[in-house]
C-alpha cells in the first residue's frame, strides 16, 4: 500500500530525542467491539503484506488478548503504520518497547 511507504517531507515532524534510544518503537493494535475479525485480518494483509496465516494469528491475538504488537522499528516508521491503521479505522497506538 502507498500509505505504508509514502515519502514525507522531513520538515513535517519535529526532531525528537527518544527517551531511551536503544529500545525499538512499536505499533500496537487494540481490540475494539466494532471492527470485524475478517476486516482486521484483511488490513494486516493489505498494509503489512503479511500472509494469510500471519494476519489471522495477529488478528486473533488482538481479539483474545486485547492488543498485539504488529510492527517494531523506528518511531517515524511506527507513526506511519499507526496513521495508516487509523486510515483503515483500526484503533492503534505508538509506544516504545518496554513501556508499561
Amino acid at each position: 500500500m502507498m500509505s505504508g511507504t509514502r515519502a514525507r517531507p522531513e520538515l513535517r515532524r519535529r526532531e525528537r530525542i527518544s527517551p531511551v534510544p536503544d529500545r525499538p518503537w512499536q505499533t500496537v493494535v487494540w481490540d475494539d467491539p466494532v471492527n470485524l475479525m475478517s476486516y482486521v485480518a484483511y488490513v494486516f494483509r493489505e498494509h503489512f503484506g503479511f500472509d494469510r496465516s500471519e494476519s489471522e494469528r495477529l488478528m486473533l491475538r488482538v481479539h483474545t488478548e486485547g492488543s498485539a504488537v504488529v510492527a517494531e522499528g523506528t518511531r517515524e516508521e511506527m507513526e506511519l503504520h499507526v496513521e495508516a491503521m487509523h486510515g483503515y479505522g483500526l484503533w492503534a497506538t505508538v509506544r516504545q518497547a518496554g513501556s508499561p
Partner: protein, 191 residues
C-alpha cells in the same frame, strides 16, 4: 443485496433501490461529519489532499469523530503533535473514499414518480475495494460511537431498545455487506 464475482477480479454488488438509497444517505452524513471537522477545503489533487497538514491538537469531543481519529499516543503531548501533522490528511482521505462510494452509487437522480425503483448495480474493483471497505467501516464506527455500542452486551441491549433497534439493524446490515465483500475477495492465489 447480492454479490457476484466477475472474471476480471471485480465484484458486482446488486442492492435494492432502498438499500442503495440508505447507503447513499449514510455516506452523505459521513461526508458532512468529516467536513464539519475539516479545516480546509479538499484539495482537488488527491496527492496534495492526502498530505495536508494542519489538524487540530485535541481529541474531538464528538464521540464519532473521536473514534475515527483516535489518539496515537498515551501521552497527551505526543498525541497532540501526531494529530497536528496527520489529522487533516486522514480527514481528506476518508472524504475521498466516501465521495467515491457516493459517486459509484450514482443516486443523484431520483426515480421518476410512478416508476418502479430499480435495483442498483455497482462494481467493486481491486482499485476501489479499499475505499468501499474503509467507508463501510467508518460508517459502522461512527454509528457505534453515537449510540454507545461498545460491547457485545451493549449490542444485545440496544437491539431490544425501541429507540436504537433500527440503528443497530442498519449497523448489522453494513457489517453483512462488508463481510460479504471481504469473503468474495479471497482469491485462490492468496492462499
Amino acid at each position: 443485496m447480492r454479490l457476484l464475482p466477475l472474471p476480471s477480479g471485480a465484484l458486482r454488488v446488486r442492492l435494492d433501490f432502498d438499500e442503495a438509497h440508505l447507503l447513499d444517505q449514510l455516506t452523505g452524513q459521513l461526508i458532512e461529519l468529516l467536513q464539519s471537522h475539516s479545516r480546509t477545503a479538499l484539495d482537488p489533487d488527491p496527492l496534495f489532499a492526502s498530505l495536508e497538514v494542519g489538524g487540530s491538537e485535541a481529541t474531538p469531543e464528538d464521540p464519532a469523530l473521536a473514534r475515527l481519529f483516535p489518539d496515537a499516543y498515551e501521552a497527551d503531548d505526543d498525541a497532540s503533535q501526531f494529530r497536528r501533522v496527520t489529522e487533516q490528511g486522514l480527514i481528506n482521505r476518508k472524504l475521498q473514499d466516501a465521495m467515491l462510494v457516493t459517486s459509484e452509487l450514482g443516486m443523484g437522480n431520483a426515480p421518476t414518480e410512478g416508476d418502479e425503483p430499480e435495483p442498483v448495480e455497482i462494481e467493486v474493483t481491486p482499485a476501489t475495494l479499499s475505499a468501499w471497505v474503509r467507508t463501510l467501516t467508518a460508517l459502522r464506527l461512527a454509528i457505534a460511537a453515537r449510540i454507545g455500542l461498545d460491547s457485545d452486551e451493549a449490542h444485545e441491549r440496544l437491539l431490544v431498545t425501541p429507540d436504537t433497534r433500527g440503528t443497530v439493524l442498519v449497523y448489522d446490515w453494513l457489517a453483512a455487506i462488508l463481510e460479504s465483500i471481504l469473503r468474495m475477495q479471497t482469491t485462490p492465489e492468496e492462499d
